[in-house]
Each structure stands twice: as C-alpha cells, then as structure tokens.
C-alpha cells in the first residue's frame, strides 16, 4: 500500500502529507516565569513529542529575577517548527516564544572552554591557532592550555576541530545564546 509518510515521525502520531519536508535549524528565545519545574516542562515537551534539541541555555534575565530566558536551537520541518512554537505557547508559565530565525537578523553567540594537552610543536601550534581565533588563555600548565573562545557556533566548532588534531582535548560549551539585531528591546 502506498504510504508516503513513515511511522514514528516526530511531532505527529503517524503520517505527514505536507509538501515541505526540508529540515531547518531554528533558534528560539522562550520567555518564562522563573519558577521550579519550568525547564522540566520545556524539556519534557521536546522529549515527549520527539522534537530535537541541539542546544539549550537558560538564565534569569529580569532585574527581580522573576523571568528567565531559555534559548533553544532545534531542527525540524516547517510543520514541526510551527508545532514546537504552538506547543511551547500552551505551557502555562510561558510569556512568549520568539522564533529568532523567522523574525529576521539576529546575533548568535557561544562560549567554550577547551583544554588541550600537547607538547612541543603541537603545544606551540595550539597557541598560534588560538591567536588566529582570538581565543584567550584561561589557564596553563607546562603541557596544557585552557582556551576560552567566544563567537558564533560555527567558529567555535572549527576551533575545537583544530584543537582535537593537536592533542587530548576536553570541551565545555555554554550552548547558544541569541538576540535579535536592531533597536527593538524585548520587555520582560
């Protein structure tokens, strides 16, 4: 029997018939009440409905610490992205869901700490590459560095890839934070 969809697609019980099946990456800023369980609600929604989370960061952002901003990077087809937004909106403590990818130009940044254990030439090379990437040295021993790098996620990716070639590495990444360009200020 002809059946275009597959069983177990994320976001719906069974099959999809929609035209656009291109998977795209979207960055959301989700403004929530800073209360216990709110992060669990968001994460539970993603896992329960089979949506992807590529990156997630959360922190309070209001002066009185009553409001938090969750930055989520996710992937999905157009219909799934639309579902994610609508499903997030249903959660009671959620103020607003901003699809930064859809809203227009935005800045994405990530911070990473990369420990590289290397000697001799490799050690010198790691320092030279760090310089090219404008990474800072956060800590050093005789056979290791901890580099601190910030920038868009692709830049961080490339830097980590290069470091891995030079020695044993340990990586800590903050996840993506993002904000819209321009002079509009999101009141929380």
């Amino acid at each position: 029997m002809a059946n275009s969809g597959t069983v177990g697609q994320p976001g719906a019980a069974y099959t999809f018939s929609s035209g656009d099946e291109t998977v795209r990456r979207h960055t959301f800023a989700v403004i929530v009440d800073n209360e216990p369980g709110v992060l669990a609600r968001v994460i539970g929604l993603f896992s329960g409905r089979g949506y992807n989370i590529e990156s997630l960061t959360v922190s309070t952002v209001s002066a009185d610490e009553s409001v938090s901003r969750i930055n989520i990077v996710t992937t999905g087809t157009e219909m799934i992205i639309e579902q994610i937004k609508a499903q997030l909106h249903r959660l009671i403590p959620i103020h607003d869901v901003h699809d930064l990818t859809l809203d227009g130009a935005h800045v994405e940044r990530e911070l990473a700490l990369i420990k590289v254990r290397a000697k001799d030439h490799a050690r010198r090379e790691s320092l030279r590459i760090a310089d090219i990437f404008h990474a800072k040295v956060a800590d050093t021993t005789l056979d290791s560095f901890v580099f601190q790098i910030d920038g868009d996620p692709e830049k961080v990716d490339s830097f980590i890839e290069l470091m891995r070639a030079l020695g044993d590495t340990e990586v800590a990444r903050s996840g993506v934070i993002a904000i819209a360009r321009g002079n509009d200020v999101l009141k929380v």
């Binding site: 029997m1 059946n3 969809g5 019980a13 069974y14 669990a40 609600r41």
Partner: protein, 588 residues
C-alpha cells in the same frame, strides 16, 4: 475582598466553596487527613467516596462533561496520585476541566523516599494541562483559584495541586484573588474578524461544503451547539460530528450525516473526501478521523477553527486557520453570513445533497435483528428507543471498544453534554465511574453506562460507590465474551488468531450486582431483550443488565488503518482478501 487566617486544609475547602464546588470525588489517606478533617467539619462540599482513585477522576470527568462545571478530585500522596494518572491523561486527551488535589509528604521529607511519597508534579507534568506544588501556605489560596482558572479557560484540561501535609496544617492568610486573569496564560477567545470574513467568502463559494464539528463545540458551552445548529440550518450544509462532538448537532436533523472517521458513516466519510470546502470547528484532525493522511479530503479548502493553536496544522495543513472559541466563532460566522447579499449556491448544494443521498441510500448502519441471540446493534437501538419513550433526560457513558462504537452509531443524541466516552485515550473502565459522576451532576437524569463485559471489569469496584450513594445508574453490558475490538482486529489483521482476547472465567454479572446490593438482570436471547430493558429502566436504583449478544459480530463500517475515507469496508471482507495493508498493520 476578604482576608482571614485559616489552616491550609481549611483554605482548600474554602477555596472549593468559593469556586462553587458542590461535589468532590476522593479517597482518603495519610497525606490528606487534615483536608478530610476540614471536610468533616462543614456542609458545603459533598464528598463522594470512590473505591479507586482512577474511578475518582473518571467520575469527576463524567460530572464535568454532563454539567459543564469543573470536576474536583481529592486523593492522597504516592499511590493515590499514581492511581489518578490514567484519569488525568484521559482528561487531558479529551480536554475535560478537572482540578485534582493530591496530598504530599511534608515539605522537609520531599525527595527522601518517604512512605507514600512520589514525585507527583514530575509524574503528572506530561499528563496535566498544568500542575502546582504548594510549599507556602500563603500562596495556597491563590494557587487554588488559579488552578480552577487554568482548568476551565481556553482549551480545558486537568490541573493537579500537590499539597504537602505540613502546608495543610500551617496557618496562613486566605485571600480571594481580585481578578481571575492570569499573568501569562491568556487564551484567545475572540476570533480575528478578517478571517471570519475570509471564511464566509470561502463557504459562500462552496459547491460541496461540509461542516466537521468536534468536542470543542461541546466544551464551548450549550450555546455554541445552538449556534452550530443555527448555522447549519441557515446554510443547509451537511454536518458531521466526531466521537467527541456527538450531541453538538441534533442527530434527527436532515443535515446530519452521522459520525465520521474509522467507524463513521459511509456518507460522512465520503462527503469529507469529496467536499470542496471543509469547515472544521473544535475538531483536531485526529488519526481516527483522517485515515490515510495523504488521501484525506484531497481537493478541499480547509477552514479550521480551534481554541488551541497547536491543533492547527498538526496533522493536516489547513488553508484558513482561525484561533478562537467555537461559540464566538460561530456567532461571528452567522452574523457575517447574514449580512452578506450573496447566499450559498442553492443549485450546487442540491447536486451535492443528491450525491450525499446516494451514499445515504446504502444504509451503512443497517443490521438484521438476531433471531436467537441479540445483535449488539439491536440491543443499543432498542435501548435508545425505550429510553426515548421514557421522556427522561438521558445521559450515556461508555467503556471502550466495539460497544462504544456501536453506541456512537446507534444511539442518537439531540443535545450536547449527554454523551460521555473516552475518545482520546480510549480508557477501558471509564464508563461506570463516569456514569456515577454524571448521575451526581444530574440527579433526575437517566444515566446509562453502555459497557462491554471486559471493560466493565476494569473499574467494577465502583458498583459499590453507586450503591452507597443510591445512584440509580444502569449498566448495560453487551456481553460477547470477547474483548471485541481486539478480536475484530485479530480477525482482520492477524489471521483470526485470537490471542488472549477471549473473556475467560467471566463472573455471573447478575449475582455480582446482587452481591453489591443492586439489581441484576440478564437477557439470554433476543426475545428477552425488551423485557430486560423495560425492567432495567423501571427500577428505581442501580441495575446491572447482562445482555448476551452475538459473539462474532464486527463493527462496520470501518476505515481500515492506513486506508483512505473512500476505502471504507461496509461489511466482512471476502476470504483471501487483505483488509489492511502492510503499512496499515503498523498503525494502531
């Protein structure tokens, strides 16, 4: 605005009273003893003691669905809360407003694996609309009122309030909130006017329109159903209802095509498939409705009115989404429609009705009465005719399975809030406790649980509740000694290998009823059917009626899973033919 010093437990009761709650369904335990003590000392809120917490939630659902008011549940911590989970999930899937109060171990013991502790908010997070853990008695009153607001506004659903025992004992300030409005939760009720105009444009241009309405119309209140009827009569558009929507449009109106979907009528499904403009109101394009998605109503423009934005474009891409309450939307649609000079295309509609009448002429729900043993359809139809003759306001609940589908097909509903069935979750054991709740909400109503012999056993303990409170609910068991729907699928999909679907070692339901202190009746053949129904309806008290029906009868028409609306099976498939393809077998 009144403020007063009360214990947490007293606040719970006061909040219930202030919310106008008259009935609470519950079961006591260690972690809710202070609330039960406060309950004991007052006369405003009546407590109904169920026999299992799942029954408490289903009873509250039956109460809510038959009265339009939120249902309230009170259970203890640990097993009390976990037993309620099936009911909560059921209420979430069917959008039923429930406030469920759960006891919790004292705050200082939370996380210590204390006796009867469970992570109630963690466990119920995915199966509630929202939940709360109240750690500060001074936030208790506000939380209670907020819980009622969240449960009943927008798309309704279950809300859990978890109450640690020390918070129930603590003294604090009770304050009525100044307004019901919520800081962040603000559902959109009024639809966008320009979209209503666009919808009317589309509807007026339609040659083959259909109205496809669901439970959202019922949840929008009885007035929304009146408006739906007005809209359909005014336009003379054909109207079909989902399982959840039965009663939203009167079944005896000429425009009614019957229920649609997997076990819907031939005319409803074909009209859905062939229509050119579809108006979906308070319905969610569930997989039981659509069948194979890529063949679902392929040539229609779809208008979808729903209060929940996440229902839109979830399964089916629609052309004109309208977010809002079904009642408001219908009111606006009628207003705009009336203001237009242009009227629906009468000639095209006549041709469309001609086509529909051809489909109707197949009489897809017809059946032959059983000569010896009664047919299940026959039993339901006789029950319908006889309840109609009583002139009583009749409320039907069901369990889940073949009997549920036959009840949906053969029992006609003229009004909303008269039909209570587990649509989304498909919970066996729903019907009896739901009937108890419906009877409490409608003391003068005739409440009947149409059941199967397998489903009824899943919450059979609630017979005791019915007897305790002298609730004259009638339990009408279609007994075919099988989990009939499982058996039907095994016949269609698995070569008739009836793996574990035979109801072995059944109790004698007559004696069982009598053991609980209620009347027990049995119809062993078709000839006894009428007398048993008469006797059941005449008895002023709870009755269990065991109706033996044809064991091999299957529920038709049927859209096999993975098939399209125009691939309906009207009756048994000839030998050697595959009813369901390989892809369909993967689906449920």
């Amino acid at each position: 605005m009144s403020t007063q010093q009360l214990s947490g437990a007293e606040m719970v009761i006061k909040a219930l009273k202030d919310q106008g709650v008259d009935v609470v369904f519950g079961y006591p335990g260690g972690a809710v003893l202070p609330i039960y003590d406060a309950l004991f000392k007052q006369n405003h809120v009546r407590h109904i003691l169920v026999r299992h917490e799942q029954g408490a939630v289903h009873a509250a659902e039956g109460y809510a669905r038959s009265t339009g008011k939120p249902g309230v549940v009170l259970v203890t911590s640990g097993p009390g809360a976990t037993n309620a989970v099936t009911g909560l999930t059921d209420a979430l899937m069917d959008s039923i407003p429930i406030v469920c109060l759960t006891g919790q171990v004292p705050t200082h013991l939370i996380g210590n694996d204390a006796f009867q502790e469970c992570d109630t908010t963690g466990i119920t997070r995915p199966c509630t609309k929202h939940n709360y853990l109240v750690k500060d008695v001074n936030k208790l009153a506000r939380t209670m009122h907020e819980a009622f607001y969240v449960a009943t506004s927008g798309r309704p659903g279950p809300v859990v309030v978890d109450l640690p025992k020390d918070v129930q004992f603590a003294m604090g300030t009770y304050e009525m909130p100044k307004s019901a409005a919520h800081k962040t939760y603000k559902p959109i009720l009024k639809p966008d006017h320009s979209r209503i105009e666009a919808a009317v444009d589309l509807l007026l241009s339609a040659k083959r329109p259909i109205v496809y309405a669901g439970g959202g119309v019922i949840n929008a209140g009885p007035n929304a159903s009146k408006l739906l009827a007005e809209f359909v009569r005014m336009t003379n558009f054909p109207c079909t209802l989902t399982l959840m929507g039965l009663g939203a449009f009167p079944a005896n109106e000429p425009q009614y095509l019957g229920m649609l979907g997997m076990h819907g009528t031939y005319e409803a499904n074909w009209a859905m498939h062939d229509c050119d403009v579809m108006l979906a109101i308070g319905s969610r394009f569930d997989d039981r409705i659509t069948g194979r998605l890529d063949a679902f109503s392929p040539n229609s423009k779809k208008i979808h009115i729903d209060i929940d934005a996440s229902s839109i474009n979830k399964n089916v891409r629609v052309d004109l989404p309208i977010i809002g309450d079904a009642g408001y939307a219908l009111e606006d649609l009628i207003k705009v429609m009336k203001a237009r000079q242009k009227k629906p295309d009468a000639a095209a509609l006549e041709r469309w009705w001609g086509k529909i009448d051809e489909w109707r002429a197949l009489k897809c729900l017809s059946f032959k009465d059983g000569e010896q043993i009664a047919k299940p359809q026959q039993a339901i139809r006789r029950l319908y005719e006889k309840t109609l003759a009583t002139g009583k306001d009749t409320f039907i609940t069901t369990e889940v399975g073949q009997h549920q589908m036959w009840a949906a097909q053969h029992f006609d509903f003229q009004k909303p809030n008269r039909w209570m069935t587990s649509g989304g979750l498909g919970t066996m054991g729903y019907g009896l406790p739901a009937a108890i709740g419906a009877q409490l909400g409608n003391p003068d109503g005739l409440v009947i649980d149409i059941a199967g012999e397998a489903s009824i056993q899943m919450n059979i303990q609630e017979l005791s509740t019915a007897v305790q409170y002298r609730l004259p609910v009638k339990i009408f068991i279609l007994n075919n000694e099988y989990m009939g729907m499982v058996r039907q699928w095994q016949e269609l999909l698995h070569g008739g290998r009836y793996s574990e679907s035979y109801s072995e070692a059944l109790p004698d339901f007559v004696k069982l009823g009598e053991a609980y202190g209620m009347k027990g009746l049995r119809a062993e053949n078709a000839g006894q059917l009428d007398d048993v129904i008469d006797e059941m309806l005449a008895h002023d008290g709870p009755v269990i009626a065991d109706i033996l029906v044809d064991k091999s009868e299957n529920c038709y028409p049927m859209i096999p899973s993975g098939a399209a609306h125009n691939d309906m099976l009207l009756g048994p498939v000839a030998e050697g033919e595959e009813a369901i393809g390989t892809a369909g077998k993967m689906l449920v």
